[in-house]
């Protein structure tokens, strides 16, 4: 755990260095696409009010100067599978973005959706001796959280204090400066597979870049797609990506749960490909142009040419009605949404004061999905688009870029995490105290 603490702190320092330099890159490693945005930080409030962008989430302090997207290679279920291919894809995206920005970036903040994220709610209690609560006390109470057994090959990605309890008052955002005897904290810990982070680190290093931060994709899309009220009152963000559908639950402005369903838009495409016996590329095109989840009588008459290049006339001139296509798409989408429902139920989503569900991500663009989702997930469903960010090209402003935009906000003003506080002194290894004592003895 100490090693993780050190590496996360090092990443925070690199992020600070990148902000000092003013340029930082964002890489969202998805299953379908890899997006790279280059941000320039010009100081707070520099772009406030321009182009209708207001400073609600700190997005007024930067602007996007380079954006590039490339087809993801070697990524499955949001995890890096073929290192070489992924490295090439990252290189392509970063180079194109650099070319657009005409600036060289050295620091990247990356996100990925897979790696089986698992959420833990931790609790820590500390008896205070004197005076108001300070940074030191917070560090101590965070260190006092009893850590569950994470399992082998797991690593903490986020460890955010979400709630503080002072004596009998709960729901404190920031107890610093207040006086009390007993300080408690609720911390949300998100762990992922270590191997996924290491693979990502290796790929980024092979591209001559330095990793200045890692975020989980559900967290990133949550902070970009949810509006402030939803984050305050409780909402779930469902990011329907290519290979995974990730969901994150926010309450009291903090993420309290994150989970991934290992199904996404690519499964829909492969269903079409298998069901209609067309190549994957054709299936993707048909899905994008004619896809839907609610069939009407009109759709029986709308015939879709499947096309083909085989040279077999019979095979190349096949047509299907749109109803048939919807008949292929709908069960898979229903399956995904039901899986999401099951995860939400497991997380106890129904106990939140508000149960707003926001659909975002590339697969949420299927027409009619909000009706289907309302039937499965509950009535309060809306389609979410990411927050507007200064300088973002309109091609990169769709729901498919929710996690990339969220990562920009994460880069601009990250939430306090466990490693943002100093290590409490009593947690230092005893050896160093012994060394100090020895030095004292020798010198006095």
């Amino acid at each position: 755990m100490a090693q993780l603490y050190q590496s996360q702190r090092a990443m925070r320092n690199r992020r600070q260095a990148a902000l000092q330099r003013g340029v930082v890159a964002i890489i969202d490693v998805g299953t379908c696409k890899i997006a790279c945005l280059i941000l320039r930080f010009d100081g707070p409030q520099r772009f406030a009010g321009a182009d209708g962008v207001r400073s609600s989430a700190g997005q007024s302090s930067f602007r996007v100067i380079g954006a590039a997207t490339t087809r993801a290679r070697g990524v499955r279920f949001g995890e890096i599978e073929t290192m070489r291919e992924t490295e090439r894809a990252i290189r392509t995206a970063v180079q194109a973005a650099q070319k657009m920005a005409e600036v060289r970036v050295d620091h990247v903040i990356a996100s990925f959706s897979g790696a089986r994220p698992r959420s833990y709610g931790l609790e820590g209690v500390l008896e205070l001796h004197d005076g108001p609560v300070g940074d030191h006390d917070i560090a101590r109470v965070l260190a006092a959280c009893d850590l569950p057994d994470l399992g082998t090959g797991r690593e903490a990605l986020h460890a955010q204090p979400v709630n503080f309890v002072l004596d009998h008052r709960s729901g404190l955002q920031d107890p610093r400066g207040q006086v009390g005897h007993r300080l408690g904290v609720d911390m949300h810990l998100l762990t992922v597979d270590t191997i996924a982070i290491e693979n990502l680190l290796h790929c980024v290093k092979r591209c001559d870049l330095e990793l200045a931060g890692v975020a989980s994709s559900p967290y990133a899309s949550g902070i970009s797609a949810l509006v402030e009220d939803e984050r305050e009152l409780g909402a779930a963000c469902v990011d329907m990506g290519g290979g995974t559908t990730s969901l994150s639950i926010f309450a009291r402005k903090h993420m309290i749960f994150a989970e991934t369903v290992r199904m996404g838009g690519e499964h829909v495409t492969s269903d079409i490909s298998q069901g209609l016996q067309v190549p994957m590329a054709t299936a993707e095109r048909i899905k994008t142009l004619h896809g839907g989840v609610v069939a009407t009588g009109m759709d029986d008459r709308e015939m879709i040419e499947l096309g083909g290049e085989t040279g077999d006339w019979e095979l190349d001139r096949r047509t299907v009605s749109r109803s048939e296509l919807i008949g292929v798409i709908r069960p898979r989408v229903e399956e995904i949404l039901e899986e999401v429902r099951a995860r939400l139920d497991a997380a106890g989503f129904e106990h939140l004061p508000a149960q707003r569900i926001v659909l975002t991500g590339g697969a949420s663009q299927i027409p009619g999905i909000e009706g289907l989702a309302a039937r499965i997930l509950g009535q309060q469903v809306r389609l979410g688009r990411p927050l507007r960010v200064q300088g973002l090209p309109s091609a990169a402003a769709g729901p498919a870029f929710a996690s990339a935009v969220g990562l920009c906000l994460f880069a601009a003003c990250p939430q306090d995490e466990w490693w943002d506080f100093e290590v409490p002194h009593d947690r230092y290894p005893a050896r160093s105290f012994r060394r100090i004592a020895k030095w004292m003895k020798e010198n006095w």
Binding site: Q95, E102, D208
Partner: protein
């Protein structure tokens, strides 16, 4: 109707009408290309390559060129040759000399002095120097040098006009109104019909001398010349050796006075040595010894000290 499975002789299998499906386009920069691109985006490298390197290459090339002396001489020769070829163009060549408003002897003198060999490039002509040289001639008051179209060097001369003969210790010369020497006179040559002035400093008062000669025009045949005394006043010397000593100032008025006396009393035919008008309040007549003797006799004894 042909059976479907019946092989057709001589009919080969046709290739499919469609082209083979190309592999999906998958552009990705190589690692080298990626690194070079990043290097190119580094500001320092960019400045080095775009600003510093060209200047450095230029300077290095120049230094390498200058380092060998043959290069410099060759470049110098080339430049000189180029300059020569431009100067020698017919537009810039001067082919003739024309001297205007000069007497034939003077023109000959000028031709000898300049000693130009035509054709000559106008770049090679040093007109100010030439002008100074020509104006150095005594007979030339002013010279204007112009290169006219057609390659003609025109020298317009303003000749000095001799107005008097000046005899001084060294030589006898002709001088103009300003007292500048125009021409020397040889011993053997005859004198031109000009008034004679004598003495040091006479050349600085030629104008006054001319005015005096003008006033004394009726004595023209009797005047021998004017002598400058002490570089400040004139003596009018008559052919008979008599002198009229004129004052320093208002010499003309004094001379007019003498002329008036001469007209009234026939003064010049009297026997005297000099008329002294230096003090205008007291004009004095210096008689010759014989005249003085005669005066003494006329006046009788006892009054000999009265002059």
């Amino acid at each position: 109707m042909r059976p479907l499975n019946h092989p057709v002789s001589g009919h080969r299998l046709e290739p499919p009408l469609t082209r083979p499906v190309p592999p999906p386009r998958d552009p990705a920069p190589s690692r080298i290309a990626y690194r070079l691109h990043r290097l190119w985006l580094t500001p320092l490298v960019r400045i080095l390559l775009r600003r510093v390197l060209p200047v450095a290459a230029l300077v290095a090339g120049l230094l390498a060129f200058v380092a060998t002396p043959e290069n410099i001489t060759r470049a110098h020769e080339g430049l000189t040759e180029l300059r020569r070829s431009i100067e020698q163009r017919p537009e810039f060549m001067v082919v003739a000399l024309r001297i205007e408003d000069a007497s034939p002897e003077l023109a000959e003198d000028i031709r000898e002095l300049t000693s130009l060999t035509f054709p000559v490039s106008s770049f090679d002509l040093d007109l100010p120097h030439l002008r100074a040289e020509i104006e150095g001639l005594d007979a030339v008051g002013r010279a204007d040098l112009v290169i006219r179209s057609g390659g003609i060097l025109e020298i317009r001369i303003d000749e000095r006009v001799p107005v008097a003969i000046w005899r001084h210790r060294e030589a006898v010369e002709l001088v103009d109104v300003e007292g500048r020497r125009v021409q020397g006179l040889s011993e053997t040559g005859g004198l031109p019909p000009l008034p004679l002035i004598v003495g040091d400093g006479a050349d600085r008062a030629v104008a006054e001398a001319l005015a005096l000669i003008d006033v004394a025009a009726r004595w023209e045949d009797r005047i021998a010349g004017l002598v400058r005394m002490g570089e400040r006043r004139w003596d009018l010397v008559l052919a008979s050796g008599q002198r009229i000593l004129l004052p320093e100032r208002e010499a003309v008025a004094a001379l007019e006075y003498v002329i008036a006396l001469d007209g009234a009393h026939d003064l010049l035919n009297r026997d005297f040595k000099a008329i002294d008008l230096r003090n205008s309040a007291r004009p004095t007549l210096r008689l010759s010894p014989e005249a003085l003797e005669k005066l003494h006799l006329m006046r009788g004894p006892g009054r000999g000290d009265d002059s």
